[in-house]
Amino acid sequence: MFEYAPAPESRSVVRLQPAYGLFIDGEFVDPTDGDSFPSINPASEEVLAEVAAGGAGDVDRAVRAARTAYDRVWGPMPGRDRAKYLFRIARLIQERSRELAVLESLDNGKPIKESRDVDLPLVAAHFFYHAGWADKLDHAGFGPGPRPLGVAAQIIPWNFPLLMLAWKIAPALATGNTVVLKPAETTSLTALLFAEICQQADLPAGVVNIVTGAGGTGRALVEHRDVDKVAFTGSTEVGKAIARAVAGTDTRLTLELGGKAANIVFDDAPVDQAVEGIVNGIFFNQGHVCCAGSRLLLQESVADQVLAALKRRMTQLRVGDPLDKNTDIGAINSAAQLARISELADAGTAEGAQRWSPPCALPDRGFWFAPTIFTGVAQSHRIAREEIFGPVLSVLTFRTPAEAVEKANNTPYGLSAGVWTEKGSRMLWLADRLRAGVVWANTFNKFDPTAPFGGYQESGYGREGGRHGLEAYLNV
């Protein structure tokens, strides 16, 4: 194998301010009853900027700004004009995509090739897609004149900071709602840059408000009496707490939560393609993916062959500097997440599964975890049941299609699943039986603004994307 020379993406395109306020009513303001905290680069632990932590009073101010904007500007505005603002935002994202991609990699730790080639194109596409809906809602199949809900409270996770922002804000605005969005506390910076883009687009003040902070800020937002809608992406545990918090109110709720997806490989699947799909399924974005293919189900007759090819492929993965264009696996997003991954991996070993990682030098500073697979995993093991949210794959085997279905569905989650087989009838038979909101057949981790995404069971409810996603923000 030949050596790679370093190929770093320049970070000079990003001009960070030393500190950021909250984005409320079209302006950056200091928190009135909040605090501030540093946002760090997880690959180096350097402080990138100081970010405001909004308190309950700040949340209230943001909700009131959103309400006023809804009542006076955004609600009454014709759909064709809302569309133009969204098209403007989509264009600005395309124009500033390099800046956004570099900042995303700096703040989140994901490889630049992913933020540049996956996240940012999808973010722009999401705004483009929804922009077009804004003046066509009468024809979306919900009857004539579907009405927006009002003010949407949106809370997003740290794994795809800007993409999750797009999934939340684009449909909400297209349907005529105004929003208060809280980014994850470890990844606020691209949301704040997005706030600048809203200013640049001359989006009316108060239509988008961004209140940074941690769990307490999110709780204040969810429990605010004047929000009409709560949309949350994050852990199942917090999702349940939110469902309890809005019980008995008129607040509408959609939840995009955890997963423990099965990636099922049959003996007739082309091994090299399947291995690429397995690697993409679990090591894409360091495995910080709710729909990651974290349980590999191999048909027994090909298990040894696929595992050998998988291990060979894993030795080629490059772990390191997220800004290096050759990097495959970047930094774990935070010390807390690294601790959780390490704890679950240790539990895998303690419960008797066999752990393997390729030889892999990790940087001295920052948060890193080598790509890891566990073989000899039983369904009862924690690593087969709990979401690890890291680059850790649990390998199980099966003999018959029926056993594959039973094992794949043996989880309280139901977000996604993968199937690898050349036999079309078997693929469709499985797709019918897998209790999951997204089934990738002979592919994995594909996303598109036109394709509804969301889970069954404890992976949440509601869909994002496509015509289905509009419904979450309309009174239908």
Binding site: A125, G141, G143, T236, G239, K240, A241, A243, R244, A247, G248, D250, L255, L257, P412, M427, A431, A436, G437, V438, V439, W440, A441, N442, T443, K446, D448, T450, A451, P452, F453, G454, Y456, Q457, E458, G460, Y461, R463, G466, H468, E471, V476
Partner: protein
Amino acid sequence: MSERVAVRKTYKLYIGGKFPRSESGRSYLVQSGENSTANVALASRKDARDAVVAARAAGSGWAGATAYNRGQILYRAAEMLEGRREQFVALGIPGDEVDAATDRWVWYAGWSDKLPQVRGGVNPVAGPYLNLSTPEPTGVVAAVAPAAPALLGLVSVIAPAIVSGNTVVVAASPTDPLAAVTLAEVLATADLPAGVVNILTGRIEETVPSLAGHRDVNALDLTGVADAELATRLEVRAAENLKRVLRPVPAHHDWYADPGLARMTALLETKTVWHPKGG
């Protein structure tokens, strides 16, 4: 000649296609027609759990039946209900309500093979993939029928749940349960597979909390829960396994109006399947 002595009916539960008494052996008294009374089964928490087992067991067969088949069976329910119109009138259900309930079965019957077309389709993704979204049933639905109208309200809760392949456990109107048990007889003769619909009579406060907290129930329809505090408690319990929740419907709701799609779509999951295209 003396007047013929009438044969009165025993009103029991409907679970797994059978008509058992409550396992608790309890019953409660309700007025039956103008001048007689009936002892109606007072369902227990155990009866509710048994009903969930029956509904779960029926689930894969009913969801796996063809849409055409499900539509035929729902239409058959309309036929059976039409034939028993006078029986419901004798129980005090207005004739107009029986007719509306019959028509509601007909309306929903026609939806079985149209809902997937209206609610699904091809997504034009930006890449060489076939991308299909299809609606699927959520699973086992626990429902509380409105207290009134006893028959039309009950049909309006059951039909939108089962037309797409869900199975239900429904708590009937506590004050007016006779129509519910008689509707069970309609369903039992409509070729509806055992366990697809299970009907409990008795107290909402007794049976529904165990359904709301049940880990093998996928959705909770609180339509008939009039007590707001109880409804909130039930919704909180439902969060334990993230059941899909339909919130209570106001007492003044017009059950004769066009129901729209909302009751059906609230009990659906959307599955999106991707497959590459290649030569």
